[in-house]
């Protein structure tokens, strides 16, 4: 039996795209990954249809198979 925790990545669906993340990744890591260093001001995150408040990003672990949406404001309406 291999040690999955040390070697395996987890796969999530991030904004509709299958994305590999290191095992043990938190929502805050996902945000950094998606924004590639751009400020996260004005960004909100939902995991499996539930909003994760900014204050909980670094404490919320991401599970394999999660559906994650990262959104922000754009022109419209």
């Amino acid at each position: 039996m291999t040690d999955r925790t040390a070697t395996n990545n987890l796969t999530v669906t991030l904004n509709g795209v299958a994305t590999e993340l290191p095992h043990g990744a938190h929502v805050s890591d996902v945000v950094v990954h998606a924004l590639k260093g751009v400020s996260s001001s004005g960004v909100a995150v939902a995991v499996d249809g539930v909003v994760v408040p900014r204050s909980s990003w670094s404490a919320t672990a991401v599970a394999h198979g999660s559906t994650i949406e990262l959104v922000t404001a754009t022109q419209g309406g």
């Binding site: 904004n15 509709g16 998606a34 924004l35 751009v38 001001s41 004005g42 960004v43 909100a44 995150v45 939902a46 249809g49 909003v51 408040p53 900014r54 949406e69 990262l70 959104v71 922000t72 404001a73 754009t74 022109q75 419209g76 309406g77």
Partner: protein
Amino acid sequence: MPTQQHVEVDSPLRIGDLELTSRLILGTGGVTNHQVLTDIITASQTQLVTVALRRVSAVDQSILDVVRACNVSVLPNTAGCKTARDAVLTAQLAREALGTSMVKLEVIADDVTLLPDPVELLTAAEKLVSDGFTVLPYTSDDPVLARRLESVGCAAVMPLAAPIGTGLGIRNPHALQMIVESAKVPVIVDAGIGAPSHAAFAMELGCDAVLLATAVTRADRPEQMARAFRDAVLAGRTAALSGMIERRYLARASSPTSGLIEPSAP
């Protein structure tokens, strides 16, 4: 259209915690660049602009900076959502992203008509109100639906003039007037406005504000058109509070009818 007593033209519109002296709400859809956005916000003198919520990778993220630099409030929408569930989640994301509990609730039935889905809309409105949102629903011009939306606690009702982006103007003034007459919450005409005269007409009918985007953002000269709409909304409101004359079937002379010179023989 009876005169409303003791209402000042510049009395503010109150929606939730907001107090607006401008009765023109501007949508940002269709703006070609940030300079144009700044120009039309300034020219329109609006104090509230709408934005949409989209996945981060697909969008330009700096629109908020532009809007905030103009010192106006942001009204996020749930544009594109087709179910109550998606609209509720989008509203919750908007609250988290933008720090406002106001939402322009939009639940459309299909991509061809972009008409509101009344069943999903009412369901979403009820959920969001109970979740503490200040809900401004984009609705059809059905007076009964408007009443139902008000009864579940919406802070305003926003009936369409015509389908989104058509510029057809107020297709059913009678329905709109019925909504105005029975609503206890502000009535904001949203969608289908093409010309400043449409916006003025909405205000003459007694609506509290007008929300539009395309008519300005896709005009050849958006900044100039924003000014035209600013003036039209103000003119319509001023007229509505000034006691417009009753319509008549036959003519009525405005010049004196006595003291005319001797009429010549026919």
